[in-house]
Symmetry: D2
Subunit: 158 residues, 4 copies
């Protein structure tokens, strides 16, 4: 499966008084890698291939932490698209420092159309966007799976 | 089981260009509730009941998002201590706006002793701290459970 | 001159590896107090008293730091509206812990109309909004002062 | 005078509901450039050239905003060390997008020794550190200037 790697360095503002990177920063690292992956495919985050504006709010996000990152550490976010649903995409990202996986994150985003007043409604991923995403080697799911259906009801946040 | 509720309001800096609260903010809300719970028990975050300094890095954190929060929304973080292990504590927190659960988060933190140079080593939760936590009604686990053992190897981050 | 005070407590996520509150957090504290002041006047941040939507981007923001804040510190943001221009408002906020001013911040925001595609254009503060703001005791400036004119050219950011 | 340029791209998490970069993000950009400049000189942020540990808390920070940055914008932070005092350093940084200066920031940091319990005490910049900084072309100030003396009393924050 295709991997996308984002190289990055811990910044001072990412740290907390325990002397290590605050746990929320990893979620920003993962999100930055997702957007860099889309960009590498020629996709803009809000691009629906027409007049409509898309957004990809999260329905879930998680991280398992194995070892701390510290200020100035260089690391990779090794991102993989794990599942391509009718309207959702699931990413898995490893935070790797000097060859060691220090944290593993997951995120499921749902393709939503942005309506009047910023309302969000889950929609099928547009064909052009889907084709580009599928090209990354993600396992395409043709039939609406349980997760997808639940996601439709849950035009989530973030 | 004891619940602790933290009342809060969405701030402008918590929002993103999608017009809703950025998904990472929920993790900060949950963390703030955890610390408010400890404070309500008379516990300081770094207090080991002696000279030693403790820290509680996370080994995991997750959120499921059901509906977006928006600027100025008032909400509650309804926190529950779900599991009290030998060296770990698992929290579950619901984000509730006007009676509706809009997101559910979970976090497992591991009790660590802070050593020279800020190194972290997982240790048993000190008796005094444990007694106070147990008083909240969390289900105490006397024997090291699989999760606990794994946690010991994984003095995680955040 | 009218003061508005916001009581607050330092959160763990506000700290950095130096063991103190990161300098950017103070700017969020000041912004939160500004919005709380507007709310106390019955004003919504984006409310123009009609169909139009306003925004108040900053043209400048600064802080002078005298002593650090630390985790769990309780403090006040003592906010004062210093100047009410044709289209701009200048705030001054003191961060006060146990009676001691530990930091002083200033911010100038410009009243902008939000247009198509999120474009921002500086406009006169609507009369109803102005009346409410003037009621706080800010020194009203009837004639366009140099700063105000410059602000009009500089529909700034943030 | 020597300039140091940090290339960067706006991330989604940097934006707010006004659809532009939140004003606090610029301060993080400037700080990241400062640390990149130190790194380019072979200096570590906390390095005192011996056993002592230094920190560089801010006594002041400010930004003037001329035009907004938006998601995915690429920009440069053009950093210049403006003044090298006995114990303080003043930076000036321009945020430049496509050749246009969209914001200008300033920051004064004070060299502090980190003592027991994380206390901060302003000290003279160590000779080795000073020599490296001076090599960047900053205007060296040999005599304690008023700002410097005030800074000594004000072991600030951030």
């Amino acid at each position: 499966m295709t991997r996308f790697t984002l190289r990055r360095r811990v910044e001072f503002a990412d740290t907390d008084m325990a002397g290590i990177v605050h746990f929320t920063a990893y979620f920003r690292y993962l999100e930055a890698a997702e957007h860099a992956l889309l960009r590498s495919l020629g996709l803009s985050l809000f691009d629906a291939g027409g007049a409509a504006r898309l957004d990809w709010p999260r329905v879930s996000a998680s991280f398992d932490y194995r070892a701390p990152l510290r200020f100035d550490d260089e690391f990779d976010v090794r991102l993989r698209m794990q599942r391509l649903g009718q309207s959702s995409v699931t990413y898995r990202g490893e935070i790797v420092r000097e060859g060691v996986v220090v944290a593993v994150g997951r995120a499921t985003v749902v393709c939503c159309r942005v309506g009047k007043g910023g309302t969000l409604r889950a929609v099928r991923i547009p064909a052009r966007v889907r084709a580009l995403l599928a090209g990354t080697g993600a396992k395409a799911v043709r039939k609406a799976a349980p997760t997808t259906r639940r996601s439709r009801r849950r035009a989530g946040s973030g």
